[in-house]
Symmetry: C2
Subunit: 338 residues, 2 copies
């Protein structure tokens, strides 16, 4: 993520930096584990004082903090390190928006191992480790539910507020609920809403705890099992389909959206939350690059453009599909109207 230096002569710098990019992964993981950002937020700003707070070697801390500065997580003023604004908000343990726990899911061994076989994944056009993340009752999804809620808290609130503009939803189906925060945010936005959360049984235990902690347990109902097999019931005003469709190929998504369509009442909405690349598939960078994560870790998933999600939804019977203007964190909100 570092800008390549200006060179007159041709340079292998981009190659060298990309080959060594795994150092960024390890460095941010080490910084979170050692609580470097928290230490700086607490007022420790030199490598000596940070090292003392983090019980680490000054030499190691200096090199790590310089590296974090190079990659934009810190600023360096003389010998003092200062948190970049996003680091202060998201990586300081004392911040309510702390998301450091996300590394527990984002760096699960299965994700790393799938990528270590990327050459084979490109050859076959999908994950080189069997079903990848899509295995039944995959315990990594429990880790996902436990680790990713902080990262999704703010996006979920933005989504709930945006959806509220389209009317009150009383019966809400939350598909692949995970941590549950998307459905819970809708429940908090609207005291009349009941949430029906679908996910693997082991994952729903996490969502249930979160619903209890956030005071909506009496309006929280469980639909355990595969989202493709579970009977959702019917008469829903709203269905949340957050970060789910990217795991599957378009025909599977269409089949699934037909099931959602049948569960919605007339005039109901499906709210699809996804990383959505532009039609060129190479911008914006983070959303477009997500296609690689799906290639490496699923048999046939992808990051879908709006046109693709619109086509999937319309083929499933939805009448109208809209892209909401605001970003939901790194995601976008697509609303499909029955």
């Amino acid at each position: 993520m570092t800008a390549t230096s200006q060179h007159q002569q041709p340079t292998p710098e981009r190659f060298f930096n990309a080959i060594n990019a795994y150092e960024q992964t390890e460095a941010i993981k080490a910084a979170v584990e050692l609580e470097i950002f928290t230490a700086i937020a607490e007022g420790n700003t030199t490598s000596a004082t940070i090292a003392k707070r983090c019980e680490a070697a000054e030499r190691g801390v200096r090199t790590l903090c310089d590296f974090l500065t190079i990659h934009g997580f810190l600023n360096k003023e003389g010998a003092q390190y200062v948190l970049a604004p996003d680091s202060g908000l998201f990586l300081n343990r004392h911040s309510p928006a702390y998301i450091g726990t996300a590394i527990e899911f984002l760096l699960t061994p299965r994700l790393r191992e799938s990528h270590a076989l990327l050459t084979e994944a490109v050859r076959r056009g999908g994950c080189a480790l069997g079903e990848g993340t899509l295995e039944r009752e995959n315990p990594d999804w429990v880790k996902f539910a436990q680790a990713m809620m902080p990262l999704m808290h703010m996006p979920a609130e933005i989504m709930a507020a945006e959806l509220r503009k389209g009317g009150e939803a009383h019966k809400v189906l939350d598909i692949a609920a995970g941590h549950g925060i998307f459905g819970i945010s809708v429940a908090k936005e609207n005291p009349a809403a009941h949430i029906y959360a679908a996910d693997w049984k082991n994952v729903l235990e996490v969502a249930t705890k979160n619903a209890q902690a956030m005071g909506v347990a009496d309006r929280y109902h469980l639909l355990p099992g595969s989202a493709f097999e579970t009977d959702f019931g019917s008469g829903y005003d709203l269905s949340l389909i957050t970060n789910f469709l990217h795991h599957f190929d378009p025909p599977t998504c269409t089949t699934f959206m037909r099931k959602v369509h049948a569960a919605l009442k007339s005039g109901g909405r499906a709210a699809i939350v996804e990383l959505v690349p532009n039609p060129d598939r190479v911008t914006p960078p983070t959303a477009a690059a997500f296609s690689m994560m799906m290639l490496a870790t699923t048999p046939s998933g992808d990051a879908y453009t709006f046109a693709e999600l619109e086509s999937i939804s319309k083929n499933a019977g939805f009448a109208r599909v809209e892209l909401a203007p605001p970003e939901i964190g790194l995601d976008r909100l697509i609303t499909a109207y029955r």
Copy 2:
């Protein structure tokens, strides 16, 4: 290495991208292994034709090529992929400057494993895997010698031309010769020069083959063993110390430079080639970030600033130390005069 998108609201995008940066490592490795750049250079510009040439799935190739575009290795024009200039020069197998072999060294398991223990390395202030890359007769240095010559060929020629300006060298000591290309380039620049190459015995076998292939074998002499223990002899006009000092701490570097000083004749020069960060230690990015590689993989190595290299050299008895203006690839050339 991707620019973070412009957001009004705070965003965890930098964190998310850094955590997933290992995908860049795996993607460039896969692209080299599958010969994606070579396929494009041969005129295959769509995912379908590249896939056919590389015996891979079109879906996999499309996602990989989009990812390589996001990270600046390719440009995308409609559905066609075009090589970025550096990719054409360095990553196309048909190019004389092809450096794809470098992944064999840059991604040796020991380097990856050392980084996987980075939290512990920061705690202790050095490699968490014993001596790291510095073990005696470490076979990774044979891999280094075999894999890295292409990456160093152009820098070595620039260095040899630059050193030639300072006078003819007849007796040249090449320390940690590796592939041998730095010494060989001096020998090619000056037909009167004899090169004495110091490195582990197994590594010198690679250098010897390269010296033979490049027609300087009759002026190529071997000094096998540890650079700290081997008797170099004396009367050298020039000593090359390329990408060596960063493995050690300053006192060890000073001791070593004293040994080099003793081997040089009066008026002789030591040519130090290193990644040299600015005094702030966070610019330029590639040189400054190299400090992290040394933290993770050596007990006490570092990327040294010019002031530090000057101090090391002067403490070892050198009279004058100069930083040459041109870049030697990603490195800089520092000349210490006896």
